[in-house]
Amino acid sequence: MREFASVSLFFGAAVSLAAYAFGLALKKKFRLAILNPLLIAILCVIGVNLVLGVDHETYNSSAKYLSYLLTPATVCLAVPLYEQLSLLRKNAKAVVCGILAGVLASMLGVLACAKLFGLDETLYVTLLPKSITTAIGMGVAQELGGIVTITVAVIILTGILGNVIADGIFKLCRIEEPVAKGLALGTSAHAIGTARAMEMGQVEGAMSSLAIAVAGLITVVSASVFAQLM
């Protein structure tokens, strides 16, 4: 089994899907926010790989076909967005204000933390694009002279964190409007947050999809300004 798992082309992808299904089942059974299906799936896959001695390269030779689908899946986010277009028009002002405020909060937050924790300039610009989608964030970090590996890691971790804490934060801050929930998830936790928003509902999902694109683009412009402030 060990040997076979390390050459199989379907092992990694199958384990990933099974782990996510397992995470969903656990969440359904116990109804606890901490039982986040994505987080459970990631930990399960890491565990299975360790137990079976599958190294990351082998796992990825199979699982990369899942990552491959990410671009077409992101393209498809236009469909729920289109279906909620009238809602978007009705709330245009709130949407623009919300995303702008979120991006500004992200930049100011990173700046404040950098000063507080005494981060150097390289690390500061590395963290600036942490809330936006990986592909845009990588470009921004590269442009500003950040460490791209750390940027990617922090972007993914931010997404997972946002996905996990969303329910708690919304309850704590009394955020009840579906439009507000969607934008908050997309602006703070990009596509991984959007995956959670899609589970909450059509409106949340559509607004979160919109926020990925808009927050990403605003960050491209504003990060270069904020990079000068350190």
């Binding site: 990173v110 809330s131 990617v152 995956a195 990403g216």
Partner: protein, 119 residues
Amino acid sequence: MKYLKQATLILLISFAGEVLNVVLPLPIPASVYGMVILLVCLCTGLVRVGQVKETAGFLIEIMPVMFIPAAVGLTDAWPSLQPVLVPVTLTMVLTTVLVMAVTGWVTQGVIHKEKGAKK
């Protein structure tokens, strides 16, 4: 035939996004270009929702799974992350909570204000 046509259309648009990503000198990924292209196509009636709906629904449903490989791969980023772990983790947690709360509050605040104004 339905799924064949839908998948073809979605992959063609992804490809068009890839082309724009290479041709235009902006740090915008193919996926975001693709999303905008599909949205424009839907709005102009060039593509009808029925021409992509089922396949789009499938891809969106399994989307969380697509992040698992990258997250599992984070174990490789450990050496570069380890020396700066504490400040980076703190920054990440604080700002993520901040951005989520601020975006939600501001959006909800404006919505409530506009609703109140209408009354």
